[in-house]
């Protein structure tokens, strides 16, 4: 799923402090990285990877087909446009603080060309034994068959650590990002997990604000695999902004209660806390086993 033997990924913004450090960790996790891109830094080498001025050069020299973007917010829209223009199929944008209108333009353009963009403001994807595009810490993962998709990075880590602690390994961890607009939503990732042979059950880590969880409910009601959901922000007061640009309840929607009700009605098991997720998953997986 997402990362495989055919993946040849580049790092946009590889010469920056975060880009360089994360390239080290991505390589250590076995990620198939082939090059880096930073305009004006072509010809250098970072962590043993050649650096190019443009994405087009990296594609021409290495047949790159995926990218992870660490460039600063002010240049992120252009970097994403460049990657889309170059025909990359998978683009992960880790950068935070991108203006929402920029994100909307990226999303619109990606939909026209068919590139899959994950993020922005996201920890990216981690596939145990295949590698990662982004910043998810390898230490919390164990290989297994639970697919995890979340908006918040650190809460997803806590959930994954709880799963690993309980002996439930993961098929993939996918962070879609905490902004009010993200380019790939829960609904699409749930569809991927449903079709993925290596995934037996799915954990959705949502939070207050926006309507992505509500749309996810529509997909969950059609899924054959069990889904356990956690929604953070039950204690949050309306109108307050909790760090994520997306985590704000506006009048009339986006509250934890409404999301929980819709997900529950769609057939998801609702966890009250991260440590309850493994318990609910084991129950649901036992039910599936019994049916088989």
């Amino acid at each position: 799923m997402l990362l495989n033997q055919l993946t040849r990924a580049i790092v946009q913004g590889i010469t920056g402090k975060v880009g360089q450090a994360q390239t080290h960790w991505m390589l250590k996790a076995g990620t198939p990285l082939v090059a880096g891109v930073t305009p004006g830094r072509g010809g250098q080498s970072i962590e043993g990877l050649p650096v190019y001025d443009t994405v087009a050069e990296a594609v021409a020299c290495h047949e790159a087909n995926a990218s992870v973007i660490f460039v600063p917010a002010a240049y992120a829209r252009d970097a994403a446009f460049e990657a889309i223009q170059a025909g990359l199929q998978l683009i992960v944008i880790v950068t935070e603080h991108i203006p929402v209108r920029d994100t909307l333009e990226i999303k619109t353009r990606a939909q026209l060309t068919g590139s899959m963009v994950i993020g922005p403001n996201c920890p990216g994807i981690f596939i145990p034994s295949a590698g990662k595009l982004g910043i998810m810490p390898e230490s919390v993962f164990r290989k297994g068959s639970i697919g995890v998709v979340g908006r918040s990075a650190t809460l997803s880590y806590e959930v994954i650590a709880n799963l690993s602690d309980a002996g439930l390994g993961q098929s993939a961890g996918i962070g879609i990002g905490g902004d009010p607009v993200v380019c790939t939503e829960f609904a699409e990732v749930l569809g991927m997990f449903e079709n993925d042979e290596g995934t037996a059950a799915v954990v959705l880590v949502g939070e207050i604000g926006g309507s992505a969880e509500e749309r996810a409910a529509g997909v969950i009601s059609q899924m054959s695999k069990p889904v356990v959901a956690l929604i953070a922000g039950k204690a949050a007061s309306p109108g307050k902004r909790f760090g994520h640009a997306g985590a704000i309840i506006r009048a009339g929607g986006g509250s934890a209660g409404k999301k929980i009700e819709m997900l529950h009605r769609a057939g998801a098991a609702i966890a009250d806390s991260p440590s309850e997720i493994p318990i609910l998953l084991k129950e649901r997986l036992a039910d599936v086993q019994a049916v088989l």
């Binding site: 975060v18 994360q22 917010a73 002010a74 935070e96 603080h97 991108i98 203006p99 929402v100 209108r101 909307l104 333009e105 999303k107 619109t108 353009r109 920890p123 910043i135 998810m136 810490p137 230490s139 919390v140 979340g150 908006r151 918040s152 990075a153 650190t154 809460l155 997803s156 880590y157 806590e158 650590a161 709880n162 602690d165 905490g178 009010p180 607009v181 880590v205 939070e207 207050i208 926006g210 309507s211 956690l230 953070a232 922000g233 039950k234 204690a235 949050a236 007061s237 307050k240 902004r241 909790f242 760090g243 994520h244 640009a245 985590a247 009250d272 806390s273 991260p274 440590s275």
Partner: protein
């Protein structure tokens, strides 16, 4: 950032929209004097960042300087819709023949920029919008589209909007749409957009919310933004963290919004109420964590703290040094429960465990940390 009405109107005037003449008054005398200058008539408005002022008497039409003075006396220093009124906006009184509603909103449910128009403007627009969808017209524009004038014209034509000043309305809506784009507005709302007796369309009100993430490309808004922050919010910003004040008595620090909200939920499940919530984000350093801990412990009613950090990008030894430095400076008798995981966790635990009143949690479950705090604070 919600831009104050007077500043929003100045910005809109620069984008080709017509706004009333007006000045800020902070006293009864100034209100009367400005009204005198405006020809003895004015509209006196409480300058607070919220809608619905008309319904609660915070927008007054005044027909004399004395009248304006009295309105100022009624409003200044009062609490209106949860905001203290320190300033008034005193504007020329525009004779109106018709009131419209116009707005531009970034629609995150449909991924479009929506231009919204209603021929029924004024204070009852929300009621009208809920009761009768026919009166609210919406044009969804693809992000990045410049929106040509002919498209606005076609849209108005399609909805059979009959208004004598049709070209004027199309031009005004286009200016509004482009102003919202230029200013990186998440929301720009003019209610009412008034047709005056001279046939002009005038923005009598302006509600402008600018995307905080876009502020770096709007240096002209920097001063306004800084002025909008409380002193603790300003300190948080200087530290590079986000700080949300809340009503309870437990200080909360987390390395991410989602983890923070999950921590708040667990506190609430155990009848503990957060006093604040500080999100460190991904750039943890010793100095930042030291400043962060000092900030959240500052309110006197705080009786304990929980620190919940994950070291993905972050280095946890830096965090431990920051906690240790803050408590070396000012030892605490309030309990501080620390859950630190990831990158350099062993070194961080070893550094923190000897510090009095610091309780280090070595497991992955945040519940364990919250339970520990509960047990210390409310042993029964």
């Amino acid at each position: 950032m919600i831009v104050p009405e007077d500043a929003a109107k100045r910005l809109l005037a620069g984008c080709g929209l017509i706004v009333p003449c007006g000045q800020i008054a902070e006293s009864e005398e100034a209100t009367a004097a400005i009204t005198q200058e405006l020809g003895g008539r004015s509209v006196v408005k409480a300058l607070i960042p919220t809608g619905g002022r008309g319904k609660v008497g915070a927008v007054r039409v005044c027909h004399s300087a004395d009248n304006a003075r009295q309105s100022a006396a009624d409003l200044l220093g009062k609490e209106v819709l949860g905001h203290r009124v320190d300033k008034l906006l005193v504007e020329e009184l525009i004779p109106i023949s018709n009131e419209l509603y116009a707005g531009v909103v970034v629609n995150t449910a449909t991924d479009s920029i929506d231009l919204v128009l209603s021929l029924t403007g004024g204070v009852e627009i929300e009621v009208a919008a809920h009761s009768d969808r026919q009166v609210v017209h919406q044009l969804s524009v693809e992000p990045g589209d410049l929106l040509p004038l002919h498209r606005v014209n076609n849209w108005l034509g399609r909805h059979k909007i009959e208004l004598s000043e049709y070209p004027l309305l199309a031009g005004t809506l286009l200016n509004l749409y482009r102003a919202a784009a230029d200013l990186d507005a998440i929301l720009l709302e003019i209610n009412p957009l008034a047709m005056d007796t001279d046939g002009r369309l005038v923005a009598l009100d302006a509600k402008l919310e600018v995307d905080d993430n876009a502020l770096p490309r709007h240096p002209e808004l920097n001063e306004l933004f800084m002025a909008s922050l409380s002193s603790r919010e300003l300190r948080a910003r200087q530290l590079g963290v986000s700080y949300v004040p809340l009503d309870g008595d437990i200080a909360v620090i987390a390395s991410g919004a989602g983890l923070g909200m999950a921590t708040l939920d667990l506190l609430q499940q155990r009848d503990l109420a957060p006093a604040n919530f500080l999100d460190t984000g991904g750039g943890i350093s010793e100095q930042m964590v030291k400043g962060a801990l000092e900030l959240v412990l500052e309110p006197a009613l705080v009786r304990g703290a929980i620190i919940n950090l994950y070291g993905g990008i972050n280095r946890m030894l830096e965090a431990a040094k920051g906690i240790s430095a803050a408590l070396e400076n000012k030892p605490e008798n309030r309990p501080i429960v620390v859950k630190i995981l990831g990158n350099q966790q062993e070194e961080a635990w070893a550094m923190l465990e000897p510090i009095p009143n610091v309780h280090v949690i070595r497991v992955v479950q945040t519940e364990t940390a919250v339970d520990r705090l509960k047990k210390i604070l409310d042993p029964d």
